[in-house]
Amino acid sequence: MKSSFYQHDVLSILDFSREDLELLFGYAERMEKSIDTKLSLLFGKMVALAFFEPSTRTRLSFEVAAKRLGADVISITGEESLSISKGESLADTIRMLDTYSDLIVIRHRYEGAAKYAAEIARHPVINAGDGKQHHPTQAMIDLYTVKKLFGTVDGLNYGILGDLRYGRASTSFIFSLTLFKPKKVYLISPESLRVREEVLHVLKERGVVYEERRSLGDVIEELDVLYVIRIQRERIPDPIEYEKVKGSYKVTLDLLKRAKKELKILHPLPKVDEIDERIDNTPHAAYFIQAKYGIPVRMALLALIFGVEP
């Protein structure tokens, strides 16, 4: 039987169930074992990467994942995406990529761009980030990391710190937690960067216990997982607004003295200045491990979408 990933778009983490994600994690574990060998599971498949927003990390991660599985990759990046954004419509570009490839990975600064692309393309579309809205594959990696570190996603206290208004990684991570049973979720942000109404709506609708806070210091003792994101400078419309919130939160060694010994800090990277770099060498820092899981999780996702087993 084919899974619910089979030939399916990946637009929002909320399109999936806990069972779907557990299946994905099982595949990712198996992918980890063959991470250094080139597989031929996707031999003859063409994956198109359409990154209309600058990105190195995510694009390379998808490229490596696809190539490790034996697929070929074509991509639009940098200047090409610039010339396209000047002239041709997104719809026309997607139609072109759809004829060249078997799957399209898209990143775009407009919210809803991936959904729109999926309505146009016949082949599956993976959302690699649409504006401030969704970044479902990042959430898959984040949950996988928590699962690997704690053996479970359930029953833990989560703190999500930073620019929750414009952060798509944090939004998708919050959404992903609603598929599991976290003990409590603290949403910690400056007032002007509070989580958006539609995100709170999902938390309420799904009965997740959550609390909005202004300061990490108030809750640090309780946390098992601290998820940190940078300020999304490129999405804050007003530069004056950015100046006001710049540097308004930071995880310091001092704060961590009060944290649980087992506290793990996640970050989708790149970091700017929101985590003291001396924390990198402490057992709390889990963001480099998290980054490493990017490839096996994306390999697992591609395998499931194409209906092949590792």
């Binding site: 719809a91 407009y110 809803g112 761009a113 959904k115 729109y116």
Partner: protein
């Protein structure tokens, strides 16, 4: 119409009567229908007249105008109690209550400037999902933005 208003307004021959509009909403409805008064249509607007059902209500009569499905959806969002009467040759030939649709297509513009539905050069029909009827809340299917209550009227796409 059996609830005869005390103000005397002549009947229309052919056109539409929008009745049972919550008091004070008539001008919002004219606005979303794109009627500014300069179109030459014969229009009667009655505001704050007595109503058995609503206490007070507004009524709009428009000679020579038929409503599009988008017009009716827009009216439902602003005046969920409204009834539409189609008049032909002075008689009501059709009468129905508006209903708030679960999905509103091509009626509202998204307030989010970086929503794909606002990107120039793309032919995206806006689509909003009804998340709550009372209080009224609608969510953009593309970007997730929620618009609610009285602000909905601001985002109705104006048509000629």
């Amino acid at each position: 119409m059996n609830e005869e208003p005390t103000l005397v307004v002549s009947k229309i021959r052919n056109g539409t009567v929008i009745d049972h509009i919550p008091a004070g909403k008539a001008l919002d409805i004219l606005s979303v229908l794109g009627i500014a008064g300069k179109e030459g249509l014969r229009i009667a607007v009655l505001m704050n007249v007595e109503s058995k059902k609503l206490g007070k209500k507004d009524i709009i009569k428009i000679e020579g105008k038929r409503l599009s499905p988008q017009d009716v959806s827009a009216i439902a969002l602003i005046a969920p109690t409204a009834t539409i009467n189609i008049i032909e040759d002075f008689a009501v030939v059709e009468k129905y209550k508006v209903t708030v649709p679960n999905i509103v297509v091509d009626v509202l513009a998204c307030p989010n400037p970086t929503c794909i539905s606002n990107k120039k050069g793309e032919l995206v029909r806006t689509r909003f999902k009804l998340v709550s009827g009372n209080p009224l809340k609608l969510q953009c299917e593309y970007c997730g933005t929620i618009i609610s209550g009285d602000e909905v009227v601001k985002f109705v796409i104006k048509r000629k």
